[in-house]
Each structure stands twice: as structure tokens, then as C-alpha cells.
């Protein structure tokens, strides 16, 4: 392993990796404990400790092994599962059902999610109103905090948000790892533009109807969070759409293609993040001098962000979510984390460390509260 790491420009030892992990340990401790650790309750103490050590062990292993994607995916998948578990258990406790009623809409009690953001822009610009029945400030998952979080993340990480911050991406990321071999191998590159078509349609429909149409009619993750109470043909059709899209794009296609098909072909926020990818400082670079054009990176890319054309041109596409799967797969270490303006093939180690610190800190802070909550709920269920 040492020679592999040396080739990658990462001469890491246990001590060095621990040193890199120290700032993460301190910051996550502050966030998880809130500065005042309270060990009075056993289940919350246990949940906190498991989360704290789990998160930091993953970060340490990223440095120690030089691999990124495997450890990122663990936290990413756990985050997605925890969020759904916490949301569902909260709703079952509060409403005794996963569905919400018209009264919940009127009282603005619907938790906000970042996927609504693309639909809010046009109505907010033209009517100065927010077309989502949620709380603007205060309460669980309020609009202001989610918008600010997403805005910061997308400006810093670009589409990296889709692999390091989104609390839904872990679902199809997880299912895309179920099989070792792909059943469906060839998919036209044109489909990569589908999220832009979805973004176009939902932005226009939301602006015309002043309703978040994506959440109302399309979002596959309604199947694992909450959805409108089925009271008539229309709401039954909506539930059918949510379940079909979840089954098709989040479970079946990721298993058959080993790709994140929901993120690649549907998510409108992914389209916006692809645009912000052009201004973010972090990127994935291809070192043409070391590249043997084996196309292993193209093969493993979960978001169709790499094509053989991109490899020949020495530049990754704007669809890249910086998950690190291609970096881990490249035996020549020709593809690496980089910073814009820095020539490819140089400062590989520094760029990776800097990117990992920023992106991992985001997902660690963003996910730890949810993971702790779900662990506590789980302990309550078990004991």
C-alpha cells in the first residue's frame, strides 16, 4: 500500500493521518456536544459517541488509505437512511401517519427540503412570495436555514453538494452498489441533460401555478419521507408517480446500471449544482501525461460525468459531483482532486486534503444531528 500511496503523492503514516483528523475531531466534537457535553442520559450519550467516533474514523481512514469514495459513501448512505428514519418516526409520533393533510399545509407545517429551491426562484422574483407551506424561520427544517446551507454548499462544492451534502443521494448511491457487474451497460449521453429539462419544466409550472410542482407531482423521495393524504383520484395518482419513480430510478435502475440514475436523470437541483460547478474552486483534474486512456474512470463514474471524449480532452464535465470514485479507480493516479488555476498533476496531495476537509466537514456537521436522532429513536425501539 505504501508504494501505491507514494505514487499518488500521498506518503501517509498513522501519525500523519491522525494529525489531519485532529481538526475534524475538535470541530465535530463542538458541533455534536454543543460545547457542553451532557452524559446524563445513557441513550443520547451512546448515540453521540457512536456518531462522533464513526464520523471521525471514516475521515481518518480517508487519509490513511488514500481512498475517498468508499468512506464517503458509508456516511452518505447512513445520512440518507437516518433522515428518512427520523422523519418517518417523527411523523408517526406526531400524526400517526406518513401522509400530511390539507390542515398541515394551511398551517405551514411541512418540513422544507432543498429540492424545492429551483421552483422557488421565479415565483419569489416575480411575486415576492415563497411557494412552500413550511416555516420560514424556526421549527424543524425551516426554509431560511436550508436555503442558506444549500447556497453556501453549492458555492463552495458546486455539484459536490450532490455527493457530500444531499440527504437523498445516499439512497440511489446505496442501491447502485448492490451488484458487482452492470446489467445495462450503454446509456446515451443525451440523457445527462434530462435534469435541465426537468428544471425547465418544474420552474415554469411552479411559476405559473404558484405550487412546488416537483414536490407535488414528481419527487421520488416522497415515498420515503411524507406525501399528501390519498383522498381522491388525483392524490392517488400522485402517490403512484412517487412510488413508481422511487422504484424505477432509485432502486431498479441504480442496481442494473451501477449508476445514480435519479441524480443523473431527474433531480432539478442537480442541474443548478452543475451550473454552480463552473464557479466553485474545487474540481477533478486529469493529468494527461500519466493517463493511459484505459477508461476505467468513465466506467465507474456514477453520474455519467465522464465520457471518453472528456478523457481525450483532459477535462471532466460540469456534471461531476467530486465523489472520488474515479480517483480511487485510477491505477495510474492520473485523475485527482484539484483546485482551479493550479496545473493538473501538481499539488495533488494538498488539493485532496483541502477538498476533503471542506466537504467532509460539511457532511459531518450536516448529518451528525440526524444520525444521533435516528440512533436515539432506534435505541428507544430496541430497549
Amino acid at each position: 500500500m505504501d508504494s501505491t500511496l507514494k505514487k499518488a503523492g500521498m506518503n501517509k503514516s498513522f501519525g500523519k493521518s491522525l494529525l489531519y483528523t485532529l481538526p475534524m475531531l475538535l470541530i465535530t466534537f463542538m458541533f455534536i456536544s454543543g460545547g457542553k457535553p451532557d452524559f446524563s442520559d445513557l441513550s443520547s450519550t451512546l448515540a453521540m459517541l457512536i456518531t462522533f467516533f464513526g464520523v471521525n474514523i471514516l475521515y481518518f481512514l480517508m487519509h490513511y488509505t488514500g481512498k475517498t469514495d468508499k468512506f464517503r459513501a458509508i456516511l452518505f448512505i447512513v445520512f440518507a437512511l437516518s433522515l428518512s428514519f427520523t422523519l418517518i418516526s417523527n411523523m408517526m409520533e406526531m400524526r400517526n401517519s406518513m401522509s400530511f393533510s390539507q390542515a398541515d399545509i394551511l398551517e405551514c407545517k411541512i418540513p422544507f427540503c432543498h429540492l424545492v429551491i429551483p421552483m422557488m426562484i421565479l415565483p419569489a422574483a416575480f411575486t415576492k412570495s415563497i411557494i412552500f407551506p413550511g416555516s420560514i424561520i424556526g421549527g424543524f427544517a425551516n426554509i431560511a436555514s436550508m436555503v442558506v446551507l444549500w447556497l453556501v454548499a453549492t458555492l463552495v462544492l458546486g455539484r459536490g453538494f450532490c455527493s457530500w451534502g444531499c440527504f437523498y443521494g445516499g439512497w440511489d448511491d446505496g442501491f447502485s452498489r448492490f451488484r458487482k457487474k452492470k446489467v445495462i451497460k450503454r446509456i446515451s449521453e443525451s440523457w445527462r441533460w434530462m435534469p435541465f429539462a426537468v428544471l425547465f419544466m418544474v420552474s415554469i409550472t411552479a411559476a405559473l401555478a404558484l405550487v412546488p410542482t416537483y414536490c407535488d407531482w414528481i419527487c421520488p423521495f416522497k415515498a420515503v419521507t411524507e406525501f399528501e393524504q390519498v383522498t381522491n383520484v388525483e392524490s392517488a395518482t400522485k402517490a403512484g408517480v412517487f412510488l413508481s419513480l422511487f422504484g424505477g430510478l432509485v432502486i431498479v435502475l441504480p442496481i442494473l446500471t451501477r449508476r445514480r440514475t435519479q441524480c443523473s436523470f431527474l433531480c432539478p437541483l442537480g442541474a443548478i449544482n452543475s451550473v454552480s460547478n463552473t464557479i466553485t474552486p474545487f474540481t477533478i483534474k486529469i493529468d494527461k501525461t500519466n493517463c493511459s486512456e484505459c477508461m476505467k474512470c468513465v466506467e465507474v463514474c456514477p453520474l455519467f460525468a465522464l465520457t471518453s471524449e472528456d478523457i481525450k480532452n483532459g477535462k471532466v464535465s460540469t456534471f461531476c459531483s467530486k465523489c472520488g470514485k474515479c480517483v480511487d479507480a485510477c491505477s495510474k493516479h492520473a485523475i485527482h482532486f484539484g483546485i482551479k488555476g493550479v496545473p493538473s498533476g501538481t499539488m495533488k496531495n494538498f488539493s485532496r486534503n483541502l477538498f476533503l476537509f471542506v466537504s467532509f466537514l460539511f457532511i459531518a456537521v450536516f448529518s451528525s444531528g440526524t444520525i444521533i436522532n435516528s440512533l436515539q429513536s432506534l435505541f428507544k425501539l430496541i430497549f
Binding site: S190, W193, M194, A197, V198, F200, M201, I204, L208, V233
Partner: protein
Amino acid sequence: MAESFILGLSSGSACLVTCGMVMFPYLMAGSAGVKKIVSDVGVFLLTRLLVYFAIATLIWYFGQKFLSSQVIRTWVSGILYIVFAVMLIWYSLRRNQSKECPAGILASVENARIIPVVLGVVNSLGLCPALLIMLTKSSTEDTLVKSWLAFLSFFAGSSLWFFPLPLAGRIRKKEIIRTVGILATGLAGIIFIIKGLTILIGGIING
């Protein structure tokens, strides 16, 4: 109205990028600057609007005459929505491979002055699935005014794409716009399949 506008907007994007490049040389032929192009595009759009109003009136009349029963109206419109929406998806996928446009027949028109008018008629009468969906919608409207409004919204949505036509030569990344337009047309098809299914299921449940 919103539905018709969206249908026009989504199908118009693909229509412009595949057909616009065929129509553009005709609209530009013999023109002396932007003023002439703008006036030609204006005539072209006005012709489309007039043809749409005529179609809306006719189809509404036929709808009132032949689809008077609510049961027939539900079944016919539900099935037609699904059939035409499937056609719209097929049409968008097929257009991805071939670049056919009815405006090609303009090669036989010799009088350059009437070209924008002929182009307007050809473009609005081209029986594309989006127009067939509009015909289904208009035929089941309660009043003639609603039928006109539906076509007016469809016209507004699709016409938005024709305004940048004089700048077509300067638009970069046409291939991406075309791809997104084609995919958006396919999505519009899916929306109308769901609408058709909702109408049919609602009809079955309510007898």
C-alpha cells in the same frame, strides 16, 4: 391555460431548434436588416395566431356537436390524451434522429413576400402531437372563449421561442438547447399521459 402554455413552451423549444434552422433562411431571404426580419417574424406569428383561433373555433364546435355526453367526453378525451401524449414522446425521440420539418415545402414557393404567411400556416397546421393534444383539450372546453384562451396560451408558450430567431446565428451550444428541448417535449408527453390516466380512472370510479 397554464397547461396549454406549458405544452406550447415545452414543444416550442424542440420545434424551434429542429424547425427553426429550416425556417430561418426563409425568413431571412431577401431581408434588408433587422427591421425586415422583425416584421417578417411578426407576420409569421400573427398568421399562426389567426390560424389557431380558427382551429379553436372549429374544434370547439365539433366537440359540442359530437362529444355532448359527459361519459363519452371523459372516455374520448382520456384515451386521446394518452394516445397523443405517447405520440408526443415518440415524436420527440424520433426527431432526435432525423431533422424533418414541414417548412421544407417552402422550397416550392416563389413569391418571397408571402413566405412568412405560408410559413405561419404550415407551422400551425403541422399535425404534431402537441397540436393534437390541444385539439383534444379545446374540444372538451365548456365555452368557445375557453377554447380560444387555451389556444392563445399555447400560442404564447410556443411563440416565446421564436423571438430570438433573428439572433439564431449567434446562439452557441445549439445542440444542448436542442437536446434539452427534445427531453422537455418528452416530459410534457408524460404529464399528459398522467392527465389522461387521471381522467380515465376518475371516469371509471365516478361511473
